[in-house]
Symmetry: C2
Subunit: 382 residues, 2 copies
């Protein structure tokens, strides 16, 4: 506890943009986020006073970090669960707990658990050999293979046309390639008390396995289907005893909603909530892990679009500095809000996002895309 | 410049809540605000990595601080103008400049300047003796006397019934006590390029000389009158060559708008813009001092109310911690947004503010008042 203010101290393991934006939300709540960053150049380390440098796989660093925190939570899902259990043994409060977080870390464990709960997911199986792959595909190539652990943002996922396409030396699961209309996400926050607060269901638009755009609410989604997705998220959060945010990535096949992946932290699919919902996902995550009552999740406008800004793509104006691009973007789109992550620009790297909102989805979407293009490529036309 | 991102570094002199909230805005712009704070317990010092400790009256501290900044700006108006001129001589870019800032520092200089520009202000005169006071009042007591320099939040202002009521040892101006309907504020941002962006005119509700509530837009304000107030703000910003934010506090007498005070920094009367306008005053101030194009100032809802949270007032639940109060407030008002400044609670001290918004002013106002009461007094009823 902060003895001057009487307010709690939340520690976040990981110093990326999620911690950076959570720090902004913590400031409003009278706090200062405590961050365990891998390096002092991490996005959150550059803006949060109370940053320690250390590895999320170093138990001693974690134990030292947790000592100053009322609650420990995460910017990513890569902290080993055995370390989390040691933290709890040492008296730390860790949210979400290891028993929940394992299902965001381990794609096989997640699928076994969701199958046991009758949650609809694509057909899958653990695979260890080429024979396993051939048996699973049953002639229906391509199939999807995923590393059981460690993947994110399209990394650790392969679409293969035959048994030789799978990577070696990685524990894999195979999954049928579902014919889908689109991808959706349902994000819910849950407190230790058990209160849940769910955001409107969004459509996530992917390119090369990376989410490039989020449309809130998911356009044309039937009301019943939206409630079904929200119910699914609430049910998973409750059954898995998640505390904090849970993002449920979904495949919309037109007839079914199938769970693709789970994340238990603030998530790219809810960045739109900073301006687009009464309570941002970052504030909501803090409220949840602190067992505060949840904030209002209603939207601030009928249509909200978030577009990711990817760095350094080859373009006509690649020599234009990010600062110049920002000038042009602000001149072109005075109502679009920008969030830059303090990162060095590298090809394909998410360096920020933009949010546009208004009454007309197509106009809002065009504004967000235009703003993201100015920041990514330094130009108006593709 | 930040060599990793290619983005500029803004330095703010003063580490209070204005710097704290400006840091939140800087983070979104990919920056980290550099802060010169008086103590490491200051609101901004507790949340901003790049904080130096030093006095705003110490020229050496200011010079050292300015070296790392692309632009230097202010959380308050107490930096001596001669120091600002030395900073500029040393190569610093300071916005607003000394020639503008003097009119926010010196109430006499401001009144002389506005008189020369035919800007309507209450009748006033510099006073040095009891005879000056008696002559100014001309039998019409009470009158208002103000310290020429150093006042804020009702400090440095006295209402006196006779010549003996004025404080000794302070250079004063006297001002007629204007019969007024209410107080208004018009806030405008201006860039070095000369672009201006003005916010909707608000009503500021005062109690004991401290602003307790801001209503946006000012209820029942005639459209022409609102434009008149905005024009006045734009004219003053332009004539005084203000860069950054200018807050113009106004008396609404029912027939006239008279300028009361000027501030050249983010201002309490525009805290509502964080959630209530597309661009917050903190982001707008950064955009202005960086000569970025200005952001959209339109409102996000028809009615927005900001209520200040004053600390430690005697109440039925004075022993309830701020953290407990926050729990109750969130439960009572899940859509109200809170901003706490990381301060130790002391009687009458502004420790934060809350913002409510919606379609119906009276409901929004009741929500904001209720939330502020929970945080101030730990209870529902007054």
């Amino acid at each position: 506890m902060d003895t001057r203010t009487g307010l709690p101290v939340v520690g976040m393991v990981g110093g990326g943009q999620l911690a950076r934006m959570t720090h902004q939300a913590a400031i409003a709540l009278g706090q200062s986020l405590k961050v365990l960053a891998a390096a002092d150049t991490d996005g959150a380390a550059r803006v949060a006073t109370d940053t320690e440098i250390g590895s999320h796989t170093d138990l001693d660093a974690l134990l030292a970090f947790a000592r100053g925190c009322d609650v420990v939570t995460f910017d990513h899902e890569h902290v080993p669960t055995e370390h989390i259990r040691e933290l709890v043994k040492a008296g730390a409060v860790v949210r979400p707990g290891a028993d929940a977080l394992i299902f965001a870390q381990d794609k096989r464990a997640m699928r076994e658990r969701l199958t046991a709960s009758d949650v609809p997911i694509p057909r899958w199986a653990p695979v260890r050999t080429k024979e396993d792959l051939t048996g699973f595909a049953h002639g229906n190539w391509p199939i999807v293979v995923k590393a059981e652990r460690g993947g994110y943002d399209g990394r650790g996922v392969w679409i293969i046309d035959g048994p030789d396409g799978a990577p070696d030396g990685v524990d894999l699961i195979a999954e049928e390639r579902v014919p889908l209309l689109r991808e959706l996400a349902a994000v819910v926050a849950r407190s230790p008390f058990g209160q849940v607060a769910v955001y409107p269901v969004v459509e996530t638009v992917q390119r090369d396995g990376i989410c490039v755009e989020v449309l809130a609410p998911a356009p044309g989604l039937d009301g019943d289907r939206a409630v079904q997705a929200q119910d699914l998220a609430i049910r998973i959060a409750t059954e898995l005893d998640v505390v904090g945010l849970l993002a449920v990535e979904l495949f919309d096949t037109g007839t079914d909603l199938l769970v693709n992946e789970l994340a238990m932290r603030p998530h790219n699919s809810a960045h739109w909530t900073i301006e687009g919902a009464r309570t941002s996902q970052f504030e909501q995550h803090l409220r949840a892990v602190l067992d505060y009552p949840m904030g209002d999740t209603s939207m601030t406008a009928p249509a909200v679009v978030m577009a990711n800004v990817l760095g350094g793509r080859p373009a006509q104006n690649a020599d234009m500095s990010l600062d110049e691009r920002l000038h042009h973007m602000f001149a072109a789109e005075p109502a679009v809000k920008v969030h830059l992550y303090g990162k060095e620009v590298r090809p394909g790297r998410k360096i920020g996002h933009v949010t546009a909102l208004g009454d007309d989805l197509e106009k809002v979407r065009a504004s967000a895309a235009r703003a993201a293009r100015w920041l990514s490529e330094g130009g108006e036309e593709r």
